[in-house]
Amino acid sequence: MRVRARIDKGYEAMEIQVCNSEMNQQVKQLVEDISAFVNEGITGTDERGEKVLLPLHEILRFYAENQRVIAQDGRGCYVIREKLYELEEKLEEGRFFRISKSEIVNLKKIRRLDMSITGTIKVILSDGTETYTSRRNVTKLKNCLGIKG
């Protein structure tokens, strides 16, 4: 299947089209999957107190801070109602990973891991955010990413 990006100033917002000569099960499934992936979101409250729908694929991480759970994306941080354990149950395995007791990260947003001589393991996210994980979670992360051996 050919996948291409079409850049045109005429588009006001990003749009995804599935093109085919006829409507069949594959097209329906693809539209449903893409739509679920793109529009799947969580409601957060920004610093001005306004409710915002945060698409899951844009979220970098969820973390607990001062008894609140925060969702962070490339634009900022939002307070959300769900607890981390609820998110862990709700979020699809293989897309998000719990790197510590107080944090869940989007696997697609991990840029790399850095391990220091003292054994501190930094998780560097795509926007440069740095956070930490423990040794036993590195093993779980490796398994979650499907790395064997």
């Binding site: 007791k101 840029r111 790399r112 391990m115 054994g119 930490y132 423990s134 036993r136 979670n137 790395i147």
Partner: protein, 151 residues
Amino acid sequence: MLKRVCFSFAISGMCGLIVYMLMEFVGEVLLGAENFSGLTPEYMTYFPSETLALGTAVLFHGLIGAAFCAATVVYEKAELGFVLQNVIYFIVTGAVWIPVVSFVWQLYRYPAAFFSTLGGFVMTYIIMSVVGYNITKKEVAQINALLAEEN
């Protein structure tokens, strides 16, 4: 966490009791020794009866188990790094097990035995840390290789 600590206390205490009972069985039934005990005679002099001495030793075993369990909380502080985590874990658990074994086994009376026990424990920790460090380093490299491939 409190539940886990209590559970560790109970399990360690029970294990201690089973080991002492087994030792008595082996000593008295299999080896034929009279009044065989897994407790040192010097330790027993602190108590009016063997039962009380054994009960206290079992509670001490439980205390060691509880301390080892409670101290694992340090491994949740990922920003410390596991070398520092292991050092803290050793200090915290050592603060419990060293006085306990010194008293129950009367190790303070035998400096050579005390230092060999301590040395063995420290060496075990160092080996575990080095092995753990190398395994994690390899895992981090594997993860980074995959991430670099995907990005």
